[in-house]
């Protein structure tokens, strides 16, 4: 609501002035001045619904990019990343994580195979510097260049069932040939060789494009996308909707579902962790931990009583004893329920288990439900 400049210590993306000019409600997020919602076009709920039914765009330039290139780049990636990057074809990406030796999370990451021994890691905004230092310091033994490209790109996410129709109007790339978690390069809004990934953080089909980070180019492309998207009901979306969308899709957020005190088994990210890889950071600790089983597991919860579970609230058993906590909780605008992700002992994790969430000192009824809470319907057009 404010049109006053933010203090200089907060970072801004190249699109910051555009968001402010659009009347976005701004918030400080991990050191970045970012739009949380755009009230003039309906705000959070309208943005969430646009992504689920049409298309929405997000400025996600605050995220980071690390490139590893050189004769032993694959070995370097394999050493720091828990998933198996050797399975990636050129043009393919995978969800993974960087782990501490204890098997807990430095960050989650999307690993893109740009070429032979050439990889791009896309990482979280709040962990940019930490991740870069981590990757650089833990790959010195491999002949490979590690470059921080975070400031080179404006990253725009175009998400929703109509995203492919919208982007097709603006690019010469053959988008139907790009499956989920694959990417290509093409001309976008007249800019050559733009990385176009069929990736996102919403649980919908969609794309993330990486364009040069200068202000005028970024603003031009943003506005051209908004223009081309009018026929699909496009709206600009902020971090508020970004959070409710990823929560419905049960996608983890660093500092909530994953952190430096939570390990891969607890977070339920087993399928992205390839223990058959002979060496990666965290492997030994994870093998050990696997022997004992996790003492807490991530589960989905739905409020059955009247109340909203929010980040940090306590989870109680039916007798009122504290058994866990909420990592992320919010009303779900599309599902029209109040949902949460929680860490609880495995004994409470079976679907349908009744629990309570402590809301302002009172236990409110809830139950454990299947996740993801939301799954996108099969694309028919």
């Amino acid at each position: 609501m404010s049109v006053v400049d933010s203090p200089p210590s907060v970072r801004k993306t190249a699109l910051n002035a555009v968001h402010r000019q659009m009347g976005a409600k701004m918030v400080a997020f991990n050191g970045w001045d970012m739009p949380v919602e755009y009230p003039k076009t309906g705000g959070l709920v309208a943005e969430h619904m646009a992504v689920r039914t049409g298309v929405g765009i997000f400025d996600v330039s605050h995220m980071g990019d690390i490139r590893l290139a050189g004769p032993r780049a694959l070995d370097a990636v394999q050493h720091v990343s828990m998933n198996d990057a050797s399975r990636l074809a050129i043009g393919q990406a995978q969800y993974s994580a960087l782990l501490y030796p204890q098997g807990t999370f430095v960050d989650d990451v999307i690993v893109h195979c740009l070429g032979e021994n050439d990889y791009l890691l896309v990482i979280n905004a709040g962990t940019r510097e930490k991740d870069f230092a981590w990757v650089r310091d833990n790959t010195r033994q491999f002949d490979c260049r590690v470059t921080d490209l975070s400031d080179e790109y404006t990253q725009i996410a175009i998400q929703g069932p109509r995203a492919h129709l919208l982007l097709a109007k603006l690019t010469d790339a053959n988008l139907s040939a790009v499956k989920g978690y694959w990417f290509t390069h093409g001309t976008v809004c007249g800019l050559p060789n733009v990385l176009i990934g069929r990736t996102g953080y919403t649980g919908e089909d969609g794309f993330e494009i990486y364009i040069p980070s200068d202000g005028p180019t970024s603003a031009r492309v943003w506005n051209e996308i908004l223009d081309a998207g009018k026929e699909y009901g496009i709206v600009a979306c902020g971090l508020g909707a970004r959070n409710t969308l990823r929560l419905e899709a049960k996608m983890p957020l660093y500092g909530h579902e994953i952190s430096d005190t939570i390990n891969v088994w607890e977070a339920g990210l087993d399928r992205y962790c390839k223990l058959e890889k002979p060496d990666f950071m965290g492997r030994e600790a994870l093998l050990q931990a696997k022997l004992f089983g996790p003492s807490k597991v991530l589960a989905g919860l739905e409020m059955t009583g009247r109340g909203i579970a929010r980040d940090g609230y306590k989870v109680l058993d039916m007798e009122g004893a504290e058994i866990g906590y909420v990592t992320s909780g919010s009303p779900a605008p599309f599902l029209k329920k109040n949902i949460a992700l929680v860490y609880i002992p495995p004994a409470f994790a079976p679907l349908g288990t009744p629990v309570q969430v402590e809301v302002r000192g009172q236990g409110v009824a809830a139950q454990i439900v299947a996740t993801p809470f939301y799954k996108k319907p099969k694309l028919l057009v």
Partner: protein, 129 residues
């Protein structure tokens, strides 16, 4: 925007409209606009006591929880049950959406609250921050 003169306002963005020794309480247009879509209103039961300046409930948007602060002391005589199932009414017309009615225990507390004109000025300063 003009704030109605038939009531007083607080710096926590509540309004209180007195009718003899009874008063109805709600939140202002500015408050609902700042909150965004309201999804939940948490109010005390009939018979509970409100102490001026203390929290008595909360209003929630998708993104945030906002405490409600008692503009005056008294005991709750009526609660707007509509808001339990249709909290969006507060967004539609905040000044018409009373949340609860109280029997004032100390009506003179209202004297120190903001007039419509003072509240409007206060809001303009807040918005400029």
């Amino acid at each position: 925007m003009a704030y109605p003169n038939d009531r007083k306002y607080t710096k926590e963005h509540e309004w209180v409209m007195a009718n003899g020794n009874s008063a109805s309480i709600g939140i202002t247009q500015y408050a609902q606009d700042s909150l965004g879509d309201i999804v939940f209103v948490d109010l005390p039961k009939v018979g509970s006591d409100l102490a001026v300046g203390k929290t008595f409930g909360s209003v929630e948007s998708v993104k945030a929880v906002s405490d409600l602060f008692a503009p005056a002391s008294g005991s709750v005589t009526e609660v707007n049950e509509e808001l339990a199932t249709a909290p969006e009414k507060v967004n539609q017309d905040a000044h018409a959406s009373w949340m609860l009615k109280i029997a004032l225990s100390n009506p003179s507390e209202l004297d120190s609250l903001l007039s419509a004109a003072d509240y409007e000025k206060f809001v303009a300063e807040e918005a400029g921050k």
